[in-house]
Amino acid sequence: MNQVVSTHNLSKQYNGKYCVRDLNLSVAKGEIFGFLGPNGAGKSTTLKMILGLTRPTKGFVTVFEKGFEENRGFILSQTGSLIESPSYYGHLTGLENMRVVQKLREVPDKNVMQALRIVRLEKQKDKKVSQYSLGMKQRLGIAMALMSFPKVLILDEPTNGLDPAGIGEIRELIKSLPQLHGMTVLLSSHLLSEIEQIATSVGIINEGEMLFQGSMSELKSKSQPTIKIKTRNNKLAQELLRINGFSSIQSGESLVFEDLLDDEVIKVNQSLVTSNIDVLRIEEHKKSLENIFLDLTGKEQSL
C-alpha cells in the first residue's frame, strides 16, 4: 500500500463542537495530495494533528505506518512543515533563522544554502526578517521546511501572500519535489485552481468531514459534459426519444442528456426534425471543477 500519512477516524472537538470529524485521509508515497476546503473547514486543525501540535479528541495518525505518539521524534525528523502563518525570529536575519533550524535538524551547511537558493532568498539572506515582505517570510518558511529534504512535506496554504510570479514559482517547485527528492507532499489550500494545477490526489473537506477523496482524474471525471436540448414540445420529444433509446431528464425548459457522443447528438436531432418537433437549441454544458466543488461543499459563497 505504501501509505505515508494516514488518519483513522481522526476527530477534534473544540467547546463541544466538532471541528474535524471521523476523518480518514490517506496519502500514498510520491503523491502530491491537495487538501481542499473552504476557510474554517478544519484543514489546519487536521494538519496540526498530523504533526502532533494538537491532540485528537478521537482517532489517531500514522506516518510511515507508525503510530505518531510512540514515534514522534522519528516522524518529525522525516517531516518538513509550514503551518498557517510562517514562523520566524524577526530580529534575526534570514540566514540566522535558517541556522536555528539547521542546529535543531543537524544538517550540513550546503542544505541551508540550497534551500535558500531554491526559494530565491539567497540575496536577501542577510536582511532582518522583520524587514521581509509577507511573501519573503513565506518563502523563508518553505526554505525551513525544505532544509532537511524530508520524506514528507506538509504545507498549509503555501502560496499565501505570494505574488502571481511567486505562486507560479512555488507551484513548479512543489511539483518537482517528488521526482527530484522523492518527497511526498501534503498541501492544503482553499483555492481549487491552485490544487488543480499541482495535486495528483485530492481530498475535499467541509465542516470537518471528508466529502471526496481520490485522484485528480477521478474528480475530473465528475465533470462529464451534458447536452441540453430545447424544443417547442419537450414532453413529446422526451417520449419520442425514450422510445428511440435516449433517456433524458427535464430541467427547466430543456431536456438534459448525459454521456451523449457526437453521432448520438446527430441522431437525436434527426429524429426530432423528422417527427416535426422544432428544435430551438442544442447546447453542451461542461460542469467546471469549481461547480463540482461547490456542489460537494454546498457553499456558494466565496471560498
Binding site: 502532533g52 501540535l53 518529525l76 542546529k103 535538524r105
Partner: protein, 252 residues
C-alpha cells in the same frame, strides 16, 4: 539539551540582553554607592559591610523582580512574536526541552547579574577602605540568598510570560512583586513569607533592628536562614515543574 541551550544563546544575537541587564544593575549599584558615600562622609563609622549589604538586600527586593520580569519577558516574547513555538515543536524538540533551555538561559543571565553585584559590593568596600576585612562568608551567603530567590521568581515569570501572549500581564506581575519585595520588611513575617519576592530581604544575612534608638545591624545566624532557603528552593522547583508541565500540555 546542550544544543537547545546553545540555540537560545544563538537566538539572542543582536538583542543585547546582557547589556540591558548589566546597565539596569549598574543604576542600582551607582545609586546605592552614592547614598553610601554620602552617609560615610557624614558619619565615618557608617563605613561597614553590614550596612552596605542591608541596603543592597532591600533594594534588590524592589529591582530584581522588575529586572527578572523584563528579561524573562524578552526571552519568552520572541517565541510569541514570530509564532515560533509551533516551528520548534515540529523540529522534533520537546516542549519540556525548550522550557528548560529558556529557564537555564534566564538563570545564567541572572547569575551574571548577581555575580556583578557581589563583586561591586566587594570592590566598593575595598576602595572605601572599610575597617573590617572583606567578609567573604557573609558575601557568599548574601549571594546565594539572591540567587535562590531569583531562581524561583524566574520560574514564575517564565510560566506567565510563556502562557500569556500579552506581556503586560507578566510585567505587571513583576512590578507587583517589586512592590511586595520592597515593603516585605514592614509586614509581619508570617505574611511576608507567603510572597516569594520577600525573600530578597528575608534571606539577607544581615538585618536591621529598629528596637533601640539607633539603627542596629544584626548578622543573622545561618541556621535560622536555612529553613527559609529550603522553602525558596522548593518553591523554585515546584513552580518550574508546574509551568513546564502546563506548557507541555498546551496545544498550539
Amino acid at each position: 539539551m546542550m544544543r537547545a541551550i546553545s540555540i537560545e544563546f544563538f537566538k539572542f544575537r543582536h538583542r543585547h540582553i546582557y547589556l540591558m541587564a548589566t546597565l539596569f544593575l549598574l543604576i542600582e549599584v551607582i545609586f546605592l554607592f552614592m547614598g553610601m558615600s554620602r552617609s560615610i562622609s557624614m558619619k565615618p563609622e557608617n563605613a561597614n559591610w553590614e550596612a552596605l549589604i542591608v541596603m543592597f538586600a532591600s533594594m534588590n527586593g524592589l529591582l530584581f523582580p522588575i529586572l527578572i520580569a523584563v528579561s524573562v519577558s524578552r526571552i519568552c516574547d520572541m517565541e510569541h512574536k514570530g509564532n515560533t513555538w509551533k516551528l520548534l515543536l515540529t523540529l522534533s524538540i520537546k516542549p519540556g526541552q525548550v522550557y528548560a533551555a529558556k529557564y537555564i538561559y534566564a538563570c545564567i543571565l541572572i547569575l551574571w547579574v548577581c555575580i556583578v553585584q557581589v563583586l561591586s559590593i566587594a570592590a566598593f568596600g575595598i576602595v572605601k577602605d572599610f575597617e573590617d576585612p572583606l567578609p567573604t562568608f557573609l558575601l557568599i551567603r548574601y549571594f546565594f540568598g539572591i540567587v535562590f530567590t531569583s531562581l524561583a521568581i524566574v520560574a514564575l515569570q517564565q510560566w506567565v510570560s510563556l502562557m500569556k501572549k500579552n506581556q503586560v500581564i507578566a510585567l505587571t506581575l513583576g512590578m507587583i512583586g517589586g512592590f511586595i519585595g520592597m515593603t516585605a520588611d514592614l509586614m509581619p513575617s508570617g505574611v511576608s513569607r507567603i510572597f516569594i519576592w520577600s525573600y530578597y530581604s528575608g534571606l539577607s544575612p544581615v538585618s536591621l533592628s529598629y528596637e533601640s534608638e539607633e539603627l542596629d545591624f544584626i548578622v543573622r545566624n545561618l541556621n535560622a536562614l536555612l529553613p527559609l532557603m529550603l522553602i525558596v528552593i522548593i518553591a523554585a522547583i515546584s513552580i518550574y515543574l508546574a509551568g513546564s508541565m502546563h506548557l507541555s500540555r498546551k496545544e498550539v
